[in-house]
């Protein structure tokens, strides 16, 4: 335990509880069951969406994923197809309709796994209306229009890419026109380099002397606050962890950032037994530390209250992840107030949570990190895995020798 923990007396929380194997096993079985339920639930019915796009649609013919749409007079009025692309929380399914003249009759999102507050903004932009009536080879497939209005880069890219794939299906099959698939080059720029540098600083701080460690921590956290927080607004959150657990891995080419961030988070815990991300990089942690500097943040809490809060946090994180796995909606698990502070967007609940946490930061050291952050639970789980592996090697390594 570091000296900055808000406990009244020393409490060895790093000591693992014994005889909890049944609880761990129960949790694992529940999560696997939730994953299985989420995965085996049948896919969406596209027909109501096709009917929304083509008002005169009377019946359809489904041939290899392309719906031929007919009117009541048995006249072909167009085609519709679905296209899927990787969004923020997982795959996003879009349907697009093309009439017999090759003009877009409409497009809509059928299914998504995005964070609700951001997706609502994407859905209400004029982008979908702006497509209607345009020839399919005139669409410029540019997500900047949506991004400009919403700030939801990942979701906007997925919507545009989904429409491109849906249109490409119809164009290739019915008009014999090839709509080129966008080649996604490996995105390795300032952001990715910054993540590597920040983790390197954090690891260096782990090995270096105490006086220099504090300096490195502050450097990393302020950089994290500015880059991961205010600039990119993409700190690690429970939605992203749930997306990975649900098996929705983002595209490596465009989302290398997430692999670096989550990979660094997991690896540093497994190697050092402590999260370098939480102590040296997390932008929300940095915001709380800055506010703590102003207020002093030296209140000591009784051990029982800390234990109670930790237990409640673990329960709520478990419930949120289970719900996300069952519904296959990783975005719905997110309750963190990160978007409220870094992008001024969020639900009322997230705004209230932000207010409470930041005011509490004046008197308690990093209250979110200690009592609410789902990453703390993830850290504990990985610490348990690490400790179990070490114990296993100690116990059976000798026997094997």
């Amino acid at each position: 335990m570091g000296p900055d923990h808000p406990f009244k007396r020393k409490m060895n929380v790093s000591k693992l509880p014994k005889n909890n194997s049944f609880i761990y096993l129960f949790i694992i079985i529940l999560l696997v069951a939730a994953f299985w339920i989420g995965r085996t639930t049948s896919g969406p019915d596209l027909k109501p969406h096709v009917r929304n796009i083509f008002n005169q649609a009377a019946f359809f013919e489904d041939t290899q994923g392309i719906y031929s749409v007919f009117s009541e007079q048995n006249e072909l009025i167009g085609w519709a197809a679905a296209g899927s692309a990787s969004g923020y929380g997982g795959p996003l399914l879009v349907i697009a309709g093309i009439d017999t003249a090759g003009k877009v009759a409409g497009a809509s999102v059928v299914e998504h796994k995005e964070t609700p507050v951001f997706f609502r903004m994407v859905k209400t932009t004029d982008f979908f209306q702006s497509l209607t009536g345009r020839l399919f080879d005139e669409i410029d497939y540019d997500s900047r229009e949506i991004v400009g209005a919403t700030g939801a880069t990942c979701s906007a890219d997925a919507v545009v890419e989904g429409i491109r794939r849906a249109v490409a299906k119809v164009a290739g099959d019915k008009f014999n026109v090839h709509v080129p698939v966008r080649e996604r080059p490996l995105k390795f720029g300032f952001l990715e380099i910054a993540i590597i540098v920040l983790f390197s600083l954090g690891i260096a701080a782990h090995h270096i002397g105490k006086s220099f460690r504090e300096w490195l921590r502050w450097t990393g956290q302020i950089a994290g606050l500015l880059i991961i927080g205010f600039w990119e607004n993409s700190p690690i959150n429970i939605a992203k962890i749930s997306a990975f657990l649900s098996g929705y891995f983002p595209d490596l080419h465009s989302d290398l950032y997430w692999y670096l961030l989550i990979g660094g988070f997991v690896l540093t815990i497994l190697i050092y037994g402590k999260s370098v991300y939480c102590s040296n990089i997390c932008p929300f942690g940095a915001a709380q530390r800055c506010i703590g500097l102003i207020g002093g943040a030296n209140a000591k809490l009784p051990v029982w209250s800390v234990r109670l809060m930790n237990g409640l946090r673990n329960f709520f994180v478990f419930a949120a992840v289970t719900a996300a796995l069952i519904t296959a909606q990783p975005g719905s698990a997110s309750y963190e107030p990160f978007a409220a502070i870094f992008a001024l967007k969020g639900t009322l609940f997230q705004w209230f949570l932000l207010f409470i946490v930041l005011i509490a930061s004046l008197i308690i050291n990093r209250p979110w990190c200690h009592f609410f952050c789902p990453m703390r639970t993830c850290e504990r789980v990985l610490q348990i895995v690490r400790q179990k592996t070490i114990n296993f090697r100690k116990l059976y390594g000798k026997k094997i020798k």
Partner: protein, 106 residues
């Protein structure tokens, strides 16, 4: 709502503000906290910030923009409370012990 637009409301607000400032000054003296001009300047700026926060919430509610009142109130409220905490730590700079202050007065 008419009450808030009346001159009487502003008259009352002026009286309350005077009482707050006089009371604050007396309390500072009692607790031997020195108040040079820069502390008073910072305090006045903070009072203006606090007033802006209250005005923002009140105006937004008046315009029936409840969402804006809540979100703006939380955002500016945070800035106000956090800067208030910082200001309080600044104000406490140079605080003497009550015994020392009493001796100095005598």
């Amino acid at each position: 709502m008419e009450f808030f637009n009346s001159g009487f409301f502003w008259f009352l607000e002026g009286i309350i503000l005077c009482i707050v400032i006089i009371g604050f000054n007396a309390w500072m003296k009692d607790h031997a906290i020195p108040m040079p001009f820069w502390k008073w300047t910072a305090f006045v700026i903070w009072i203006v910030l606090f007033g802006f926060n209250v005005a923002f919430i009140g105006t937004s509610i008046g315009e029936n923009e409840i969402n804006a009142a809540i979100k703006g109130g939380i955002l500016f409220g945070l800035i106000t409370v956090i800067s208030g905490a910082g200001l309080w730590r600044l104000i406490k700079i140079g605080t003497r012990s009550p015994v020392q202050a009493k001796n100095e007065r005598e």
